[in-house]
Symmetry: C2
Subunit: 210 residues, 2 copies
Amino acid sequence: MKIVPVSKATLGRLPGYLKLLRKISPDKVPYISATTISKELNLGEVQVRKDLATVSGEGKPRLGYATEELIKKLEDCLGYNELTGAVLVGAGKLGGALLQYEGFERFGVEIIAAFDKNEHTINIDSKIEVLPMSRFESFCKERNIRIGIITVVEESAQDVCNQMVRSGITAIWNFAPCKLQVPDGVLLQNENLALSLAHLSNQLSRSDKE
Amino acid sequence: MKIVPVSKATLGRLPGYLKLLRKISPDKVPYISATTISKELNLGEVQVRKDLATVSGEGKPRLGYATEELIKKLEDCLGYNELTGAVLVGAGKLGGALLQYEGFERFGVEIIAAFDKNEHTINIDSKIEVLPMSRFESFCKERNIRIGIITVVEESAQDVCNQMVRSGITAIWNFAPCKLQVPDGVLLQNENLALSLAHLSNQLSRSDKE
């Protein structure tokens, strides 16, 4: 199978397909068509075909998709068969909120540890351990952690980012409102919350003027 | 001036332009060219021209942009001359993190109040008042609030959304991981944090397979 990138929009719909297929159960319905799926989920048929093509390829003519196989492929794509471990650095309010945020596991990702430079003042109401930064590198290397989440202040973000790269992390999700430099081969995804709110506000004020 | 929508990417660069222009000061430099700006900020000249065109129109041939006027237009676009008030519903961890998140004002938005159904158990270390939901509608109507942020659990999100619409809110920033129904004319922006992390994880696992 050719590896095609899964867009964020497609990814967001995959748990819905999986839920439906599990509900109908492969014993009773060995094959399911894109038409049936699209009706059940109230989605366009073209969209369903496109989404499923990125995960599993085409269905069989006149039969549709083999239900059991499609379930497995969706689970694989969503990482259900192997939860990906992530670490978080910066156990402040936002970090704490992410540690408690439900729904990461629904997409196959689990935050397994949080780190903070200040190990004494940490008081997070969460099941996840908060460790001192001195243990960061060895922790990540031992467990082969690949995903790092940055929720520290702007001033410390590049340092933390460098430490992550040194520790073998190759995908960084950055909440600090600044540009980070990463070497080639490291994925960087910026989450600028202020900008998201600003964009909404700006759309609002422009729709007022129109 | 024709009202053109400002993209999120452009919006994110506007504070940088403003900072530069304020630094050089209009008295000393009455006109500034896109070339100068692009060199100072290490951005492409075409991008600078496009960004500034959405805010202020074209510069004058051979002179460039009138510095003082451009500063004003950037401030207007970023809402600096009139902070837009927003309210937040759901004063849990994520809500608390947003209340403390710095940088909203940099984009002209200010969260002026938070609401929660449970007024007794609220203990947020923030300067912003947390009010009971019973006061929500009158608060929003009196102050003509237009922006609402939803940080409640999935089950309550549609109810809160309906209450916001009834209270005159026309732009909703939703953090609950569910689809909300809004009437025509109400802007809805969904922030699915789990999906963002999942997207990063998925890119990572696909780059491994390649």
